[in-house]
Subunit: 242 residues, 2 copies
């Protein structure tokens, strides 16, 4: 995933698209492996696009495809692929129909795509995203990004969905670490993560998350961790679904 | 910034450290220029550390320095720098004093640092972060990360603090884009961002954010944008501080 936008790097805007993309990809059996956040600077975007599209099966970008001067993503994707920016006739027709008398050059900029790209429909506000090679370019506004992603997902090739099981305890990480390592070593097919949290109401909690495509294996490892917690005098506490 | 952790990439955990780091760095006159999120995989972490420390003045990592099997950040930083992992005597003494009879090998792992690193104090839970060259390694738990960052900030060399001014309108981006480009072209020293939002209660809003170290220049540009909005028949609407 490539998140494009000064507003994320300045701390002004809290990104909401990463968690949504991760969740939806996981449901489709695709694992999100890296995220980069880069500013609205052409060279930074081009370099990141080229690094990520060479390294991964799919790349998803968010942000920078609106009508204003700081929306430079389309031009950067075209540059990364070494192609021209063209005005897509279908996108232009849709924008002209939608905006009618309010159409102008700035809005028509949203009909531009890299030459060879295919459109990603936008069920919210018409202006499309696009697919260029293995790179999917989406809007940054979360509800538009989500609509575009819904249109993309059926076209992706995924593997088995990774399932997760959770267990939480009042024991500190350092108390369960040795036993947990021993369990992890016997369940190498499961990715077991240990996450400490602190909430003023309940104090420290440790949550263990087990992730693999095999629900039965997850449950077997979860049972062993539960037994470990109880053997160490800990409590197994309620935890929201993974 | 390098965010290390499968839990961010799976969508399970919403990162809260990026926005905090960005805000604090900005106050110190340091601009956050890139963020990467990588999984708990040694080669990925080592490659990212080496890419980022060569490219930027400072690198800040979060996550992966606890006592459990999935905490591999310290080993990865050492590998990136080509040094050994050692147990730091001051960190060990602090952990032994804190945990007393509860000390164990897993907890002593939190005394490990790359050879040559200096400790970053942890006012919350004792186990320290560390600085190795231009790389600052912090915990992932937000309140611990924040305490470590408070200890780091006075040691960083920053430039002028970037100040921001905001203005929001009910006009759509496409309506103001042409006039805004004209203003941006006359205020090249100001980074003007345009951010569309949609809230079900109020519909679409466009927020313009002006960022430069010069408050007077920001205000001059903000006044021009306000005049632009009014000339186009738009409303200037209240907006929270940048």
């Amino acid at each position: 995933m490539l998140i494009i936008g000064n507003e994320i790097l300045s701390g002004r805007t809290q990104d909401k698209n990463l968690a949504h993309l991760a969740t939806k990809l996981n449901e489709a059996g695709i694992r999100l492996r890296e995220v980069r956040v880069v500013p609205d600077i052409e060279a930074e975007i081009v370099d990141a696009v080229n690094a990520l599209r060479a390294k991964f099966d799919y790349v998803f970008t968010t942000g920078g495809i609106g009508p204003t001067h700081d929306d430079i993503t389309t031009a950067c994707i075209a540059k990364a692929f070494g192609v021209a920016v063209i005005r897509h006739p279908d996108a232009e027709a849709a924008l002209r129909a939608h905006y009618a008398a309010e159409i102008n050059e700035a809005r028509l900029k949203m009909a531009e795509v890299p030459e060879g790209a295919t459109l990603i429909p936008n069920a919210i506000s018409v202006a499309p995203g696009f697919r260029m090679g293995n790179v999917f370019t989406m809007a940054g506004v979360p509800r538009i990004m989500q609509a575009m992603l819904d249109a993309i997902i059926p076209h992706l090739e995924g593997g088995a969905t990774v399932l997760s099981a959770n267990i939480a305890t009042d024991l500190l990480e350092g108390t369960i670490a040795a036993g947990l390592t021993e369990i992890q070593n016997r369940y190498m097919d499961i990715d077991i993560g240990s996450y400490p949290t602190y909430e003023s109401a309940q104090g420290y909690r440790t949550t263990l998350v087990l992730r693999s495509p095999d629900a039965e294996r997850n449950e077997a490892a979860r049972s062993e961790i539960e037994a470990l917690i109880l053997s160490l005098g800990g409590l197994v506490v309620a935890v929201p679904a993974a």
